[in-house]
């Protein structure tokens, strides 16, 4: 297997070159910044919540291909999802990236994210892939309990 097969798969490069949901949301329900000081990945996550669901999500990110692609794919799969479902997906992806087991099969709607599995072979890059997910988790946790949607 070459680096291109493992790490820089077509899906990753597509999301890297054309990251989805990049931008800002004015007056979001929650805004969180994440950084990976080792390699300088930076991400600002803006999220609007409507009831119990993620109404909109935008990312302003500056980082390596793995980080950008991971964030881009994340934004696509969690948008419109209930917060509880988003949390379930976060846990699933984190266990995929951090787990010791061999490749994890993801449900069809999360298929693109399987392309991140190659990162496991390159331990220093796992943090890059995780940053958007940890930032989203923090954003969900920062939502005030009982504060459904915009203030």
């Amino acid at each position: 297997m070459s680096l291109a097969d493992d790490l820089y798969r077509e899906t990753i490069l597509d999301h890297y070159h054309n990251p989805r949901n990049q931008g800002e949301i004015a007056n979001p329900s929650v805004q969180v910044e994440g950084v990976n000081p080792l390699c300088g990945d930076e991400i600002t996550l803006f999220m609007n919540v409507n009831g119990d669901a993620i109404a909109d999500l935008k990312l302003k990110s500056r980082g390596c291909s793995i980080n950008m692609a991971s964030g881009s794919m994340m934004s696509e799969v969690v948008k419109g999802q209930p917060l509880t479902e988003a949390q379930r997906i976060i846990e699933l992806i984190k266990s995929m990236l951090l787990g010791k087991s061999a490749d994890v099969m993801l449900p069809e709607e999360l298929e693109d994210l399987e392309s991140l599995q190659g990162v496991k072979k390159y331990p220093v890059r796992i943090k890059c892939a995780l940053l958007p997910w940890n930032t989203l988790l923090e954003a969900i946790q920062n939502l005030n309990p009982g504060d459904n949607g915009k203030k």
């Binding site: 291109a4 070159h17 000081p37 080792l38 390699c39 300088g40 390596c64 793995i66 950008m68 220093v124």
Partner: protein
């Protein structure tokens, strides 16, 4: 005679393969590799002579003390210092700078005083001064760089003034490679009654360095970037300044007499070397100095100017490569930072690693400079005595490969 192929044979690690390719080590600004003489020194110290110093009456202790103290004299000669007692061993450059910031700084800095820095300081020559400035309500003042990444001496003439108490500058930038005009800055500082500290972490390993010629008051550097082991740094200071400074750490060896309620400090340099020092590594560092002296620092510099010039020319051949810092190899050290449009430095580093090439990618402990350059990080290749033109060629081939893997963003 400077013979790279002969030099390479002295470095066991250069025989290594990485991912099926011969190692090409281009991360020397982070740390250098070690010649067999240094590795052998560590082994033979522990096998033949290990003892604590400055106290034993037995043969081993005397030998260890003699070996340790003779390195101090060698260091003094290496940096053109007249007195060995002005050479203090520390853990690294960072600790050496902290000694000055904490000891000299706390004793001398008052509210409203100014500490002058450059925008290209490593965190190790920035954060200690930030802390001191906060504590003392002192002000940090930053000199300016020219568009081609040189230090702007006009800004120094304007900004070093009567409130300036100390000027703290890198001898050579670990990102831009820029060589700082220390001599001129020292004159400007002294004309205002201020001191000048030089962060020699990058400079001393690569440039002939004499504290008397530079006219500086403090010089800090680390041995691990100049063929020596990790864990040994040096603070050189003008003896009268060190004499007047309070100790940095307190405990054994830094005292001359102790009562229940008080103590008298030892004389220089031991006043600043509390506790059992890093004896084995200091002695091995002496072998690193011997190695460099036999090559001659003028020759080391000449080799790096040649290699850096070649790398800069080759890099400019590549389409969308941005090179940071001066393009004239005579005005910079062997540190080449660059970016490709559209390829993140971390990806470059990862792909080069597949070819066995070790470079650094990231902010290089210079986050404020990265912000000035408006980049998240850079890729950085840095050279030393054992690097060759062929390795630069391999680097260039691998960079083109990286561009291919990432979808031909840069080389269009």
């Amino acid at each position: 005679m400077f013979n790279v192929q002969k030099i390479r044979k002295d470095f066991p690690v250069l025989d290594r393969q990485v991912n099926g390719n011969p190692l090409i080590y281009l991360d020397n600004a982070a740390t250098s590799q070690k010649p067999a003489a240094v590795i052998e020194s560590l082994k033979s110290y522990y096998e033949r002579c290990n003892a604590n110093i400055h106290r034993g009456i037995h043969a081993l202790s005397e030998e260890a003390t003699e070996a340790y103290e003779s390195v101090r004299e060698e260091v003094a000669r290496f940096i053109g210092a007249s007195e060995a007692r002005s050479v203090v061993f520390t853990r690294n450059t960072t600790e050496a700078i902290n000694v000055v910031a904490q000891s000299w700084g706390r004793a001398n800095l008052l509210a409203g005083d100014e500490i002058v820095l450059t925008p290209m300081e490593h965190h190790s020559n920035l954060v200690p001064w930030q802390q001191l400035a906060q504590e003392r309500q002192a002000k940090l003042v930053f000199l300016e760089l020219t568009d081609d990444g040189l230090l702007d001496l006009n800004s120094a003439r304007r900004l070093i003034g009567s409130r300036t108490k100390i000027v703290c500058v890198t001898q050579m930038s670990n990102v831009l490679g820029t060589i700082t005009p220390v001599k001129e800055l020292a004159q400007l500082a002294h004309a205002q009654g201020a001191l000048i500290l030089v962060d020699g972490a990058q400079g001393v390993p690569h440039l002939p360095t004499s504290v008397s010629e530079l006219g500086c008051d403090f010089l800090a550097f680390s041995f691990h970037k100049m063929l020596g082991p990790t864990g040994v740094g040096v603070l050189w200071g003008r003896p009268e300044l060190l004499e007047a400074m309070p100790p940095f750490l307190y405990g054994g060896d830094m005292i001359s007499a102790v009562w229940r309620d008080r103590a008298k400090w030892n004389e220089l340099p031991w006043k600043f070397e509390a506790g059992t020092p890093n004896i084995a590594d200091v002695i091995a560092a002496g072998q690193a100095l011997t190695y460099l002296q036999e090559l001659g620092m003028d020759q080391v510099r000449a080799h790096e100017v040649e290699l850096t010039g070649y790398a800069l020319r080759r890099l400019q051949e590549i389409g969308d490569a941005t090179i940071y810092g001066p393009l004239d190899a005579h005005q910079r050290g062997g540190v080449v930072s660059f970016n490709f449009a559209g390829v993140h430095p971390h990806d470059i580093g990862q792909i080069l690693n597949e070819s066995g090439i070790a470079i650094r990618a990231g902010h290089h402990c210079c986050q404020p400079l990265m912000r000035d350059l408006n980049v998240a990080g850079t890729a950085r290749a840095s050279f030393y005595i054992y690097n060759t033109r062929e390795e630069v060629d391999r680097l260039l081939e691998a960079l083109k490969e990286a561009d291919k893997v990432m979808g031909h963003v840069a080389c269009r």
